[in-house]
Amino acid sequence: MLRWSPSSATILPELILAVGAIVVLMVALFTPRRLQPWMAALAAAVLLSAAVFAGLDLIDPPGLTFFDTLAADGVGRWATLLLAVVALLVVGLSVEWFRPDARHAEYYVILIFATLGAVLLAGANDLMELVLAMMLSSVAGYTLAAFHRRSRGSSEAGMKYFLLGALANGAMVYGVALLFGLSGSTTFTDVGPGLEGADPLALVVGFGLVVVGVAFKMGVAPVHPWVPDVAEGAPAPAAAFLMIFGKIGALVFLARFVLILPDTQLGWRPLVALVAAVTMTLGNLAALRQDDVRRLLGWSAVSQAGYGLLAIVAIGRSDLAIPSLLMFLVAYSFGTIAVFGVVVALRGLTDRISYRGLAGPHPWLMGAMLIGFLSFIGIPPLGGFAAKLLLMGAVIDAGYTWLAVLTVINSVVSLVYYFRVLGPAYQEKPGGRRPTMGRLAGASVAFAAIGVIAVGVVAQPLLQAWNTLDL
């Protein structure tokens, strides 16, 4: 049965991103060097229009497109919208950061491609589409991580990111082959029924290997080691993006994916719960001693990925699961942009000690960092709290109370390392002002910080929209 969606508007955001990337590249080729930073504006325009069209799509009825290989449902559109906004904010952070780079228009091109990869991943309704979306986002990700071509850290981060990603993707592809073999199809619409009564052993291995790939994308144990390295080594704006985009794409994909799996042969729920538990604990504990703020943020991103998995554990069992997933993604994205943005705005200042007494001379930046960190801990009424509330409610609802308890314990642990940075910033005698990165970065930080507050306080419109969503 062919179900070709006649309305190309359904995939307009994807088209805009793909074409837009090429347009940016072409224009950059014929633009003199001093105008290169304006490519950021162009990229921003592309991302903005993608965001606008994704937003307009929200009212469309959900459906599948391209012969069921791509889902165009509410969750996917929200993910698209969020990704575009995140990329937009990252562009804002990047302008000044990359200005000295002789040739950085490609950075924006790759950024758009990475966004597109994550968008496709979030919408993937086909195993092959999964593989290619994963490849697109990964390849773009490696490039972003290594984009400082004279920086020892950046190149190392890119290399490690690649090495781990290649292995994880290799494993995932084999898993895809296994699932294809079991079900006889790669399209989810057929995979689900095809897997009914499938051999449990092969199913477990196939699912496990796919999860390895998804875990890599999200930075979840045991495929997390790239996260702190990339957070520390990659260009800071790119690092912020890399912390976020994989989580959005992969979490939404995973939610879509597990729903087609037969519950009877495969204990995917406890498996995801275990991975979530290990990830959040590991990330938090490892972050405890970090003196490098970016690396600390990397480990914190690992633990946050663990929290995000709670939504997957509850999916299908609690009506809070999907709202909690989206709330987590939104809150996490804005929070990460805010805190990484502060690092960017302080020209990459990353030594914990250097943050001493900064609250005096930089009240707004440190205020944004405070809001971001408090949101990560889950202090109300910030977005992070709304996310944790929903996540924990969802897992308790799904019968995984122990996971909620563990989340609580981890939240407490996380407080320690966040306040190892914030404490001195506020307690010590105010120091001198530090050079900053310019207005645009500050504006992105402000937008993200306000977003963190807003999604917590004005959660109703979002939740109302999300409550009815289905995968």
Binding site: P222, V223, W268, L271, L282, L285, L288, R289, V416
Partner: protein, 638 residues
């Protein structure tokens, strides 16, 4: 109406404080306030006034002048007037005089409240206020740390007794849903009534310095003389006996109430008598005698004859105040209270006579009122049983013994003494007033007075036998003879006891030492131990959790990342970890724990370069190992 006896002294206290700069006015103000209290008390006593004060939610403080209270409400300001009169002169140079007057007035107010209380809540309020006022009065001379220390001992001891009233009030509430005496009287669960009785007896024993709480009176001696005089006669100490007398009609429904009170009183009367006899410090000897005398009141009350107890209380109030003021004069004039160094009779004959009247009262020499009340107690005791009566007879003998000894040693004839100062006329007048009251009280020997007392205080007297009076007189004579003998042998000061035994007895039979060893020291040690345990155990658990979380995190991360070197790492790090943690655990806080672990691992890092990571192939190992674990778990755990 019923408020006035309380409000007058309170107003006086406020006025004294307000006018503290005009020292000459202070005395008159205080005296006038107390006189006002006295007059209104008389009026209240005749009008049987009642009143209530609402605490909200149906809890009312009810006040009523009734039963023994009719006597007591008058007695308190009466004694207080004399004492304040004395204080106004004897302490005229004390810069803290306003505070003293204010507190004395407050003391009286609190006592008046106690007297008119008609429910346990009000009783408890007044009871504790009396105690607090006594603390403040005893620590009058606070620049010398001895005074507040003694005051604290006294206060804590009596507060322990106060718990009895808390319990009684709670039990009354549990039994009847209210705190009023009347509700309890109109029928209550006997079990709860027993708890009430036990609580009241505990509280009364502590306040009235019965065994085993008696020694606190010694601590109370650290206060100035007028304070002691008031405290022993009509306020603080009297509260215990008064409460028992007031509540006896209700509590006597408890079968063991009477015997308990009688036993307690008798034991204290005998033990206290010996203490008073053995003491060489005038005020302390008087303190011992106070316990003994209140013991006698308890005997009468326990035996069921509250009128006897009440008359003993009244008589005692007058002569004991008199005796204390006499002791104060001695201290003031001779600068010491050591019985071996006084004998002021030749130097101050007038005071000696007045003191002698008091001593006669203490010895219960007829025709003084004190003798009448003693006889009433004796009658009550014999009513309770032969052995009780005999005990009281012995106690009476002891009273006469120490009373005469004290008089002889303090104001007996002796060599002229160089006096520091002579008592002021008004001071003598105050003593004279009390002596006169003691003497005037003899009127209760007149026929018909028994009936009057019975009617006023709603109590009763035992049917005394004539031979009891004879026996008493005999014991008094015997006591005088013994004192004369000892005097002749010049061992009166040491009472003829061997030195160590005398000190043991004079120090209240070793009770203070025992209390220190058995209660105070262990409690303080316990509190210190707990305080250190609070940090080293309770908090250490918290810190330990934090530390192990941090340590676990490091170990976990490093071990996972260096999956290859698990075993080598594990052994090394665990020893290191244990060492560092135990060494650092005394350092403070979570951060320190984190730092401690960090330090341990830095050391560990130096030991083994292999723990360093950041290498991709370690990541690879982790990925493969982790995936295998994931697969195994997924295969097993459905």
């Amino acid at each position: 109406m019923v408020w006035l006896p309380i409000l007058f002294p309170l107003a006086g206290a406020v006025a004294v404080l307000a006018m503290r700069r005009r020292r000459p006015w202070l005395g008159p103000i205080a005296v006038i306030a107390l006189l006002g209290s006295l007059v209104s008390a008389v009026l209240a006593a005749f009008s049987d006034a009642t009143s209530t004060w609402s605490w909200g939610a149906g809890i009312d403080l009810s006040l009523e002048v009734a039963d023994a209270g009719r006597v007591m409400v008058v007695l308190v300001p009466l004694v207080a007037v004399a004492v304040v009169l004395y204080a106004a002169l004897s302490m005229r140079d004390d810069p803290a005089l306003p505070r003293l007057f204010a507190l004395l007035a407050g003391f009286v107010a609190a006592m008046e409240l106690l007297v008119v209380a008609a429910d346990f809540l009000t009783l408890l309020i007044a009871w504790e206020l009396v105690g607090a006022a006594s603390w403040a009065l005893i620590s009058h001379d606070w620049r010398n740390l001895k005074a507040p220390t003694s005051a604290k001992e006294a206060f804590v001891t009596t507060r322990f007794g106060d718990l009895g009233l808390y319990i009684a009030a709670g039990a009354a509430f549990a039994a009847t849903g209210s705190f009023a005496y009347s509700d309890l009287a109109s029928g209550a669960d006997p079990l709860w009534l027993g708890v009430v009785a036990g609580g009241v007896v505990l509280a009364a024993a502590a306040k009235s310095a019965q065994l085993p709480f008696s020694p606190w009176l010694f601590s109370a001696m650290a206060g100035p003389t007028p304070v002691s005089a008031l405290l022993h006669s009509a306020t603080m100490v009297a509260a215990g006996a008064y409460a028992l007398i007031r509540l006896q009609p209700i509590l006597s429904a408890v079968p063991w109430f009477g015997p308990l009170v009688v036993g307690l009183g008798l034991a204290t009367a005998l033990a206290g008598g010996l203490v008073a006899f053995a003491q060489t410090d005038l005020k302390r000897a008087l303190a011992g005698s106070t316990s003994a005398q209140y013991g006698l009141m308890l005997v009468a009350t326990g035996a069921g004859f509250t009128a006897a107890g009440m008359s003993q209380l009244t008589a005692h109030a007058f002569f004991k105040a008199l005796l204390f003021l006499g002791a104060g004069v001695a201290l003031h004039s001779a600068g010491t209270l050591d019985l071996g160094k006084l004998r002021l009779g030749s130097t101050m004959p007038r005071i000696a006579v007045l003191f002698g009247i008091g001593a006669a009262g203490l010895a219960a020499v007829p025709p003084l009122g004190a003798a009448f009340s003693k006889e009433a107690v004796l009658g009550a005791a014999f009513d309770a049983g032969f052995w009780v009566g005999s005990g009281v007879l012995v106690a009476g003998f002891l009273s006469a013994l120490y009373a005469s000894r004290l008089h002889v040693l303090a104001y007996g004839p002796g060599p002229p003494v160089e006096l520091k100062s002579r008592p002021h006329r008004v001071e003598v007048f105050a003593l004279a007033v009390l002596a006169a009251l003691t003497v005037v009280l003899s009127v209760i020997w007149l026929p018909g007075s028994k009936e009057l007392i019975t009617e006023v205080s709603s109590g009763s007297f035992a049917e005394g036998e004539p031979w009891e009076l004879g026996l008493s007189l005999l014991t008094i004579a015997m006591a005088l003879g013994v004192v004369w003998l000892l005097w002749r042998r010049k061992v009166l000061v040491t009472a003829g006891f061997p030195q160590r035994f005398r000190i043991f007895v004079a120090g209240w039979w070793g009770i203070p030492t025992a209390a220190r060893r058995v209660i105070i020291d262990p409690v303080i040690r316990l509190s210190r131990d707990l305080a250190s345990a609070d940090f080293s155990v309770v908090d250490a658990v918290v810190r330990g959790i934090a530390a192990s979380a941090a340590g676990f995190g490091d170990r976990l991360r490093r071990r996972v990342e260096t999956a290859v070197d698990w075993i080598a790492m594990g052994v090394g790090s665990r020893t290191l970890l244990t060492a560092t943690v135990s060494q650092k655990i005394d350092d403070d806080g979570v951060d320190a724990a984190v730092e401690g672990i960090a330090e341990g691992f830095r050391f560990g890092g130096e030991q083994s370069q292999r723990t360093q990571t950041g290498m991709s192939h370690h990541y690879y190992t982790m990925l493969v190992a982790g995936s295998v674990v994931v697969l195994i778990v997924a295969a097993i755990w459905r």
